[in-house]
């Protein structure tokens, strides 16, 4: 990224961390990139990436995408719905508000949805789940297996893919042990970034994409 000359407010990294906890890394990145672009243009976006991108790699990727011409995240849920098939219970591992909103709006009302309430960032889970008006239940790492079954699926968010590797939240590794893998019909990763990360993936972890039953672009 080129040297930025735009003066951005201090504390952006702290602000981003707070927002990313409750909205998700990609959703928060789009929010910040748009806001900065509106105020300071592409120069500001480049400065944002320089300032915060090394701590929040997803923000760096979204900013790079913006500078390359991308203006909207790809949130269409159809491939995810196809991957989920006839699922009746869906457990979401991680948060990406924009993408979840899009998915839940299209998911059959009979499908029960839960979210694993666990994050390395500070999250007010009550506030987060209130956004879904009771549609999404809270589960924890020690209770989400209660949702296992032959028509149950685990969904997480992936942040880019490079050949056979993809990047996910460490929470996915905690949740998808060998006991869990064979208790859920589908293990789905939704790539909400669409471009490989270029920086060391802080907050995230690389895993084999083939460990999922579906990686949805």
């Amino acid at each position: 990224m080129s040297e930025a000359t735009v003066d951005l407010p201090s504390g952006l990294d702290q602000a981003f961390g707070a927002v990313a906890g409750e909205l998700g890394m990609a959703t928060a990145s789009w929010l910040f990139v748009r806001a900065v672009a509106r105020c300071s243009g592409d120069e500001g976006v480049a400065a944002l990436a320089d300032r915060v991108g090394s701590s929040f790699t997803v923000l760096d990727a979204v900013a790079r995408g913006w500078l390359a011409g991308a203006r909207e995240p790809r949130t269409g849920p159809r491939p995810v719905l196809e991957a989920l098939g006839k699922v009746t219970r869906l457990v979401v591992v991680g948060v990406e508000a924009t993408f979840l909103d899009s998915l839940i709006a299209r998911l059959d009302a009979s499908v029960k949805i839960a979210m694993v309430a666990h994050s390395p960032l500070a999250v007010d889970w009550g506030r987060l789940l209130d956004n879904y008006g009771g549609r999404v239940e809270r589960v924890d790492l020690d209770t989400f297996q209660n949702w296992a079954g032959k028509r149950s699926a685990l969904l997480t968010f992936a942040y880019g893919r490079r050949t056979s590797r993809t990047t996910v939240l460490p929470l996915w590794l905690r949740a998808s042990g060998s006991d869990v893998r064979s208790q859920f019909h589908a293990l789905v990763a939704w790539d909400v970034l669409g471009t490989p990360l270029e920086l060391y993936p802080r907050w995230l972890v690389e895993i084999d994409a083939e460990s999922f039953t579906h990686v949805v672009p």
């Binding site: 296992a148 006991d179 064979s182």
Partner: protein
């Protein structure tokens, strides 16, 4: 220091596994495509590589036997009774009143050659076959379908072991009975512990 025992799985151990082939083999047992994909993954896509390979080899060979005998009459086996293969979640996670089970059942007809239908002994056998990690339990269930089919074909030809004519044709073990006897502890490699109430 003594030589370390090498117990690594050779690379490429599971390279011979053809999941589409197994998927086709199981089509009669699990008609729904998505259910079958789940079962196939559990049998040859999860667990230690050598188990995946073993499961594939044994199921392929058993399928070859069944094919040579004229194919499997899955519906005939199903009509004679099945028990679910339970999903082994920790007890505190079990949903009351709802047995969490895989979409592949275990046929009980083959076991009736060893114990009367509905007997505690048969229930204990079913519990042993459906116990353990899913790559074992589901492979056991799939093999029982194939063994049952092979035995039926042999019987039709008058060459195989006859089904016991005097066996009790009572109902197959219920879900509850099977679930109650899921534990199949074999201390010291001995025979399964006798279920409560079984005759001596």
């Amino acid at each position: 220091m003594g030589a370390m025992i090498q117990n690594r799985t050779p690379s490429g151990t599971a390279a011979f596994i053809d999941s589409s082939r197994l998927d086709a083999r199981l089509a009669g047992m699990v008609p729904d495509d998505q259910d079958r994909a789940f079962v196939v993954r559990c049998i040859i896509g999860e667990g230690p590589a050598h188990h995946r390979g073993v499961n594939y080899v044994l199921l392929e060979l058993l399928s070859t036997v069944v094919d040579a005998l004229g194919g499997a009459d899955v519906e005939a086996l199903r009509a004679r009774g099945t028990v679910p293969v339970p999903m082994k979640v920790s007890p505190h996670l079990a949903r009351p009143g709802s047995l969490m089970a895989y979409p592949l059942d275990l046929p009980t007809a083959p076991l009736e050659r060893l114990a009367p239908g509905g007997s505690p002994e048969l229930s204990a056998m079913a519990a042993c076959l459906t116990d353990g990690p899913p790559q074992h339990a589901l492979a056991n269930a799939a093999m029982m379908w194939l063994i049952g089919a092979a035995l039926d074909r042999l019987e039709e030809r008058g060459r195989g072991p006859k089904r016991p004519s005097s066996r009790t044709r009572s109902r197959p073990p219920s879900v509850g009975e099977a679930a109650d006897r899921r534990r199949c502890e074999v201390p010291g490699g001995g025979p399964p512990s006798r279920p409560p109430g079984a005759k001596r």
